[in-house]
């Protein structure tokens, strides 16, 4: 797709997203709002897993940190919603560093297990502490307001989510093409080479973790006021896996792919309502099948070259394909 056509496609998509509330019924509007949450969460995880190559299986923990920070500050201390946002973000970034710092030296598979353990610890803390309302969670979280207007309706939250999702997509896209993004991808592809080129891999990984955490907590804060009640059940391991599924399904590191993945992860279960019991089974099989037959995802990342680069070069730069085997062999030998 050439740049101008791409622009037109994005504008069309945004226009459809903007008029959606007037075309659909409440049920599908709710599904769309949920899908937008997943777009934000999946983009946040995309920074960690897709760009930096760190498998995080406890991402829902950051979602929980955002939701609980906002929930507690608003119900116990009567803060305004907008003031809780920066606090929640800072808090999530700190948690991200605390989780990340001691574990980033570990091999990637250990990292996965440790993040899983942290995710569970956060969930169990939420169940056991009184300040988080134990197993029943926090309820009666007030609605946010802008000026005098209270955001109460479904449409309000749809637009709020849409704005945040667009911001998240733009931010992650720009991060991905920035100097930092290139450093992350370098680390993902070859840590030793990256370090030899002067990239501080520990700092870069921590940054990826924190940014992922901040985006996750943002989604959590909005989730808290949208639902007006939160419980530990919303932040389970399954939640982390669904977010990961969105990223993997769409394509690790691919911005449009991850958006597509998030929409699919939410929309498919709705379409598969008749086979409700089977849907996680199907998701599990889908994960395996994706890894076996199309590891680059449905809409793979294309690492953009300078405009005007020859077509063949862009294709070479595309991830996946037969050229990978040699590189993967090397990776195996290093293991």
């Amino acid at each position: 797709m050439n740049p101008s056509r791409k622009k037109i496609a994005v504008v069309l998509l945004l226009a459809v997203a903007c008029v959606l509330p007037f075309l659909s019924n409440n049920y599908w509007l709710d599904v769309a709002t949920l899908a937008l949450f997943y777009v934000v969460l999946a983009q946040g995880l995309n920074v960690v897993v897709g760009f930096a190559g760190l498998l995080d299986l406890g991402y829902a923990a950051f979602f929980a940190v955002g939701a609980y920070t906002t929930g507690i500050l608003m119900t116990v201390y009567q803060w305004s919603f907008w003031l809780t946002l920066p606090v929640a973000m800072v808090f999530a970034a700190i948690v991200g560093v605390i989780i990340g710092a001691p574990t980033l030296r570990l091999r990637s598979d250990y990292l996965a297990i440790v993040t899983l353990g942290f995710g569970e610890i956060i969930r169990i803390l939420a169940i056991n502490l009184t300040i988080t309302g134990s197993a029943s969670g926090i309820y009666g979280i007030p609605r946010p307001s802008i000026g005098g207007y209270v955001l109460g309706g479904q449409i309000d939250f749809y637009y709020l989510n849409l704005i945040i999702a667009v911001l998240a997509v733009v931010a992650v896209k720009r991060l991905g093409t920035s100097r930092i993004g290139r450093a992350w991808m370098y680390i993902r592809e070859d840590e030793d080479a990256a370090e030899a080129m002067g990239i501080n891999r520990i700092n870069m990984k921590l940054l990826a973790y924190s940014i992922g955490a901040v985006i996750g907590s943002l989604a959590g804060s909005v989730f808290a006021v949208k639902m007006s009640a939160i419980a530990p059940l919303s932040f389970s391991f399954t939640q982390s896996i669904m977010i990961l599924l969105a990223v993997v399904l769409g394509g690790l590191g691919s911005i449009p792919g991850v958006v597509l993945g998030a929409v699919l992860v939410i929309a498919l279960p709705e379409l598969l309502r008749s086979v409700e019991d089977w849907r996680y089974l199907i998701f599990g099989a889908a994960l395996v099948a994706m890894m076996l037959f199309r590891p680059q995802g449905l809409w793979p990342a294309r690492y953009e070259m300078k405009r005007g680069a020859r077509r063949s070069k862009t294709e070479e730069a595309t991830e996946g394909g037969s050229g990978n085997d040699v590189k993967l062999d090397n990776e195996k030998c290093n293991a």
């Binding site: 897993v49 498998l55 091999r107 250990y110 353990g117 569970e120 056991n128 099989a285 890894m291």
Partner: protein, 300 residues
């Protein structure tokens, strides 16, 4: 004193289950460097297969005698072992040369598949095991230890001893140790690498299944999610002992079982899992090699 002995005894039983599952983790990790996330679900599968076999074969609650129970245990181990081999063949073997992230995600997919497949087959509610074990026992230093507990620990010890002899004395065991050291060289030396890896999965899966059946009988109920947390804890046990090390997994499992029972006693039941996971994170941060293991950091 009696509380201490009781805690140790209860911890020993749970620890024996952890050890059996941790062995599968550590063997698979040792041979192909894969953390098999689906391993805990093989334990769950073992519990359910044992449940079905007991329902079909036994029927009466007094049990068809000790022999019958042992036959069910062995049958379960073989069935789940074959399933484990099948998983390796279908999901993991094609990805042995792929990046690590792919095979990890595949393992998560397999885990989701097994959990929800079991939910569809056996239902989402807790199932009561069709086996009533006696609560008779002996009294030791004021603590009550049932014959069932002694029996379970004895069977676990027997399985572990068998595995130890197999790994160290048999030709296949030698091949496994060789592959763990250098897979490419083993190919060149004419070892049928894939066959040996399949065998490793068979053994790992059947040990987990044995633990699952025994745990089902011990606790009395089974559920499709029972493998998730225990899989994580068995992994903790494997890391505690030093991943890749078989005696380490045995030791780690027993230690974790006892520490967790002690932790539950001190902090209360709702903090049980936090104790285990905090321990995991602390070991990985402070001494990632575990008690007797290999290097786990990317670089120091």
């Amino acid at each position: 004193m009696d509380i201490l002995v009781q805690t140790l005894a209860d911890g020993l039983v749970i620890g024996a289950f952890y050890s059996l599952i941790a062995l599968g983790y550590t063997m698979v990790f040792g041979i192909i460097k894969l953390l098999n996330f689906a391993h805990g679900d093989l334990y769950m599968l073992g519990a359910f297969v044992g449940y079905t076999l007991l329902s079909v074969l036994g029927g009466d609650s007094s049990g068809g005698g000790l022999m019958g129970i042992l036959i069910v245990l062995l049958l379960t181990m073989v069935i789940v072992g074959v399933i484990g081999m099948g998983i390796e063949r279908v999901a993991y073997r094609p990805l042995l040369l792929a990046p690590r992230l792919s095979i990890l995600i595949t393992a998560i997919g397999v885990s989701l598949f097994l959990e929800n497949g079991s939910m569809i087959v056996w239902g989402a509610q807790y199932q009561v095991y069709p086996l009533q074990l006696s609560h008779d026992g002996i009294s030791l230093l004021g603590a009550k230890i049932t014959y069932v507990q002694i029996g379970l620990v004895f069977i676990s010890a027997l399985l572990m001893l068998g595995l130890h002899l197999f790994i160290n004395r048999s030709l296949y065991g030698k091949a496994m140790r060789a592959i763990a050291l250098d897979q490419t060289a083993c190919h060149l030396m004419g070892i049928h690498v894939h066959k040996v890896i399949g065998l490793t999965f068979f053994i790992g899966a059947s040990l987990a299944a044995g633990a699952g059946t025994m745990a089902g009988a011990y606790y009395g109920t089974v559920n499709f999610m029972m493998g998730f947390v225990i899989g994580l804890k068995a992994f903790t046990a494997a890391v505690l002992g030093g991943i890749g090390s078989i005696p380490g997994a045995m030791l780690g499992g027993l230690l974790l079982g006892m520490m967790e029972t002690a932790g539950t006693f001190i902090f209360g039941g709702s903090w049980k899992d936090v104790v285990a996971f905090s321990l995991l994170i602390m070991i990985l941060v402070l001494k990632p090699t575990g008690i007797m293991g290999e290097k786990v950091t990317e670089r120091m």
